[in-house]
């Protein structure tokens, strides 16, 4: 188990290196003046000079990268080109917002998705087809559009929730909950249906296995067979789906934080793209990648806990 964790962590190193390298390689490959390419044709010479200076564009890209990397390893992710504040501080102040949304959406969709999927696998028939249809629908509805519709309906029409903005948990837990409710639902809808479909398929498969029949022949109740045995055996593909969903939701925050004007990392990424603030964007990318690494690690640990065979190999 421990070797598994260590292997995963080692695997994270090339990922983080490649991702951070990407921006510098792209800058290095850009023909002509990279500063011009970033700022567009209307930029003034002073603006161009500022970009060159902050990114160190006068040096070759690998030197730039090396400088960035050594600084990053000592906890310095550079300075924002637009606000002139340290990138790290900016990221950390916005992290709780994004974490609230992503963790909330993952929890909501896991609980509801597994419940719906299990129920439809056991009941089958019309409910099963309903879950299939729902998962198609969940895939087809763009989440930012859903967010806009929810705002129009529940915030503007009915005034049940604030339309935009974020309240910190420390300030007021109840208002925090209200402020993240709609964005979490928006992000979770696709996950509920995806996880429900995965649970349903995995459960349907497990329920045809011999050991389920043997348990029945032993005289166990159907509910114990389902919860104690079938669900646990079906859990591995479901955990995989939850991991994939989490990675998707990280990207989803970019749009959903914009829709709900949430001061999180996703919204920061959009603003930084408009302002061509590459140091900040690089920082957001790095944070997201670290999030992916952590989730993949948790998924692996979950595999080990769920499957005794995986624990040993």
């Amino acid at each position: 188990m421990l070797t598994l964790v260590i292997r995963r962590l080692l695997w994270a190193v090339p990922l983080l290196v490649i991702v951070s390298l990407l921006a510098f390689v792209l800058l290095g490959l850009t023909p002509g003046d990279p500063a011009r390419s970033i700022l567009g044709p209307q930029a003034t010479e002073a603006q161009l000079e500022a970009v060159r200076l902050s990114l160190g564009l006068d040096q070759p890209w690998y030197v730039q990268y090396w400088n960035w990397l050594t600084a990053a390893l000592s906890g310095d992710l550079g300075t924002s080109m637009s606000s002139k504040t340290p990138v790290l501080a900016q990221l950390n102040s916005r992290l709780p917002v994004t974490l609230s949304l992503v963790v909330g959406a993952t929890l909501v969709s896991s609980v509801l998705g597994i419940a719906l999927g299990t129920y439809s696998a056991v009941r089958g028939g019309a409910l099963g087809r309903f879950t299939d249809a729902l998962s198609m629908l969940g895939f087809a509805i763009p989440n930012y559009w859903l967010g806009l519709v929810l705002v129009a309906l529940f915030s503007v029409r009915l005034s049940w929730f604030p339309a935009t903005g974020y309240v910190a948990f420390a300030d007021s837990p109840s208002r925090w909950l209200l402020s993240i409710a709609l964005p979490v639902i928006t992000l979770a809808v696709g996950g509920i249906t995806m996880i429900a479909k995965n649970t349903r398929d995995a459960m349907a498969d497990v329920l045809t296995r011999d050991f389920i029949d043997v348990l029945r022949s032993e005289g166990w109740s159907e509910s114990r067979i389902i919860y104690r045995h079938a669900l646990r055996n079906a859990a591995i593909p479901v955990v995989t789906a939850i991991g994939i969903f989490f990675i998707g939701v990280l990207g989803g925050t970019v749009l959903v934080e914009t829709v709900f004007a949430m001061p999180g990392l996703g919204g920061l990424a959009v603003g930084s793209t408009e302002r061509h603030d590459i140091p900040v964007l690089l920082g957001v990318t790095l944070y997201f990648c670290i999030g992916v690494v952590i989730v993949n690690l948790l998924v692996d640990v979950a595999y080990g806990l769920l499957n005794p065979k995986a624990r040993q190999s």
Binding site: L26, M136, L148, V149, V156, F211, G251
Partner: protein
């Protein structure tokens, strides 16, 4: 009898292409294809059908609701919403197409190379894929846009590349599956070049999965591209695109919600249709290449008929099966697979249920246990110590299971929950049946393992199913079945999956358990060795019916049905010597849909005469005191199959 309408999906030799087309020609995909075509044509021909110029302002008429002139109303600047929607599809669909093409052009060849070549290239590519799968696509695309000063086409290309890793994975898996098939080996042996094999044999079979992935990637690309446009990375201000229209629509939901709903709706419907088509192509290509179509998965469970309870007369035997019939398929279109079977088992008796695979013996055993899948008892009765099982409620059955009768299945290793230690499985069983505490149950589990001859029960209790052998697993399964001290053990081919030496051990164990605990055993087998070794009596089944039932000695000495004689003759352990080659029964066991109204064995029988086909053959007394379903029972001899008989009546 029409075999092709049978609900028991019989592998029919349909031509692949027609199965493929048939799977595509269902209402849902046809509707999805039509809707998608309508949307694409409407968008492409926007210049022809759009009622207004999408950029023409009409401030006097701003924010109008739907009307005859403006079907979907107007926006803040009085522009026609419908026209903007039609024109707005162009950038989104175009970008989605670009994204999909980028991904496919890069991903499909790489996936095929990884899957077909394997080795180093494969390892290297899979490393890259692993990293690629962990990239947060949306943020990477934003990074690319920032570096390239919002040249949005670079973002689309980056998006296409980010969708490559999952594509490589799927194409690779498919290529590996196809490569490992025999005909590819044959082509290689025949000396065809790799290129020829890839293009002639592998690529055509990948078309289905490539199309599925193409539809998936196009729909994901569409959602992504419209999202970028919504964020402002796409066409610039006055020009419409679905993403920017959603943003504009959100501003005016109070005055004219039609824009938000219509823009999101058309986007969602397009994605939905692409997804539905992808699903259909996947199902269709599975249907096209599958060797044997899978069984219909959804089958209605039927209630046991009301006459069952009254049918069973009082009997002194432990288990009594009377005229039991089992059907598979739907209630209206049922297919009988077990047909009027009767037999009894007395206390302490070991009975073998014998026949070729497909004769219904395992189904019969499962029907007795109440474990039928996709089928149901359609007639007759099963009583255990006078309690009728076919009409018992689930609760009543649970009371009896494990404590009155227990089950040992064919594949011992898959009979155990792979996530639980042997100890948990065994102590759970003990606690369920005896209600004892945890520690007592553990002690009893140790005893049970010692009972099935494990020298070190404590060690075995700590093992997981993947750490034990088949022989160990089968002894554990027997220990588990003994946990509730049942009176009857129903074992479905308990030795088939085991080595010969382990087989003997298990049979020895069963014999000993009968002697020490007075256990009755119903053992399903096709192995005469097991019957002669263990059973007091044998019930021989053919095509869903009992064809002979007799004491083991009598059966071996003088079979009373030509089928029994044939099975004995073709069984190596039954040959006493002298025969130079094993005779075997010509032909195969008929499918339930092909059962004749007369004797079901006549087409393979050396003794068959005309009268055999004329009506149902009843069970009659055989000379040695058993029963036989043969009209010529007096002519049956053990060696009828090795004699050169003129096969009258055979096909």
């Amino acid at each position: 009898m029409t075999t092709h309408t049978s609900v028991l999906a019989v592998p029919h030799p349909a031509k692949p292409r027609s199965a493929f087309v048939a799977a595509l020609m269902k209402p849902v995909p046809v509707i999805a294809a039509i809707v998608l075509a309508v949307i694409v044509i409407a968008v492409l021909g926007a210049g022809v059908w759009a009622p207004y110029d999408p950029l023409a302002n009409d401030l006097a008429n701003s924010l109008a609701g739907p009307s005859a002139e403006h079907w979907l109303g107007t926006d803040q600047l009085g522009r026609d919403v419908l026209s903007r929607l039609l024109y707005g599809g162009r950038p989104d669909l175009g970008a989605a197409l670009l994204v999909a093409c980028t991904a496919l052009v890069v991903g499909v060849p790489l996936g095929m190379v990884a899957g077909y070549r394997g080795g180093r290239i494969d390892q290297f590519l899979m490393r890259i894929v692993d990293i690629g799968l962990a990239l947060p696509s949306m943020v990477i695309v934003l990074l690319v846009l920032a570096v390239f000063g919002n040249q949005v086409i670079m973002g689309y290309l980056a998006l296409g590349l980010l969708l490559v890793p999952p594509l490589i994975r799927i194409i690779r898996a498919n290529a590996i599956a196809i490569r490992s098939e025999l005909f590819i080996d044959a082509a290689r042996v025949a000396g065809f070049s790799d290129t020829r094999i890839v293009f002639r044999h592998i690529l055509p079979r990948l078309v289905g999965s490539v199309l599925v992935q193409a539809s998936l990637i196009a729909s994901m690309g569409l959602i992504f591209v419209s999202g970028l446009a919504y964020l402002g990375f796409g066409v610039s201000a006055p020009d419409p695109s679905w993403g920017t229209l959603i943003a504009e629509g959100a501003q005016i939901t109070r005055q004219n919600p039609a824009l938000l709903l219509a823009a999101g709706g058309v986007l969602g419907v397009t994605v939905l249709c692409l997804g539905l088509l992808g699903d259909t192509i996947r199902d269709a290509s599975v249907a096209r290449w599958a060797r044997t179509p899978s069984r219909p998965s959804r089958i209605r469970r039927r209630r046991s008929p009301g006459d069952a309870a009254g049918a069973a007369p009082e009997s002194s035997s432990l288990l009594s099966v009377r005229e039991l019939s089992v059907e598979y398929g739907s209630v209206e279109q049922g297919q009988t697979v077990v047909d009027g079977v009767s037999f009894e088992i007395a206390a302490g008796e070991i009975v073998g249920l014998v026949g070729e695979s497909g004769c219904g013996k395992s189904t019969l055993a499962r029907a007795v246990l109440g474990l039928l899948r996709g089928g149901g008892v359609s007639g007759g009765a099963v009583s255990f110590e006078g309690v009728e099982l076919t009409t018992a409620t689930v609760g009543e059955l649970r009371e009896l299971r494990g404590t009155s009768f227990a089950f040992v299945s064919q594949e011992p290793l898959v009979a155990l929950d792979p996530t639980q230690r042997i100890g948990t499985t065994l102590t759970d069983a003990v606690r369920l049946h005896t209600g004892s505490g945890r520690r007592e149950a553990r002690a009893r589990a140790r005893e049970l393992l010692a009972r099935v001859r494990f020298p070190d029960p404590e060690r075995v209790l700590r093992l997981y199913p993947h750490e034990i052998s088949g022989g160990m697993a089968q002894r554990i399964a027997i220990a588990r079945a003994l946990a509730g001290s049942p009176k009857l053990l129903i074992a479905d081919e308990p030795t088939t999956a085991l080595d010969v030496t382990v087989q003997a051990e298990v049979l020895d164990l069963l014999r000993e358990l009968r002697a020490s605990e007075g256990l009755s055993i119903l053992i399903v087998t096709h192995d005469w060795g097991v019957v002669s070794d263990l059973c007091d009596r044998a019930v021989v089944m053919y095509a869903g019916q009992v064809v002979e039932q007799s004491a083991t000695d009598a059966l071996f000495h003088r079979p009373a049905h030509p089928y029994t004689a044939g099975l004995l003759a073709s069984n190596p352990s039954g040959v006493a010597g002298g025969a130079t080659r094993l005779p075997s029964i010509p032909g195969t066991i008929p499918l339930p849909s092909e059962w004749s109204t007369g004797c079901r064995f006549q087409s393979r029988c050396p003794l068959a005469v005309e009268v055999c086909g004329q009506g149902p053959v009843p069970l009659v007394q055989s000379p040695d005191g058993g029963t036989s379903r043969c009209l010529r029972v007096d002519q049956v001899e053990r060696d009828i199959w090795s004699r050169d008989l003129v096969r009258g009546g055979a096909r």
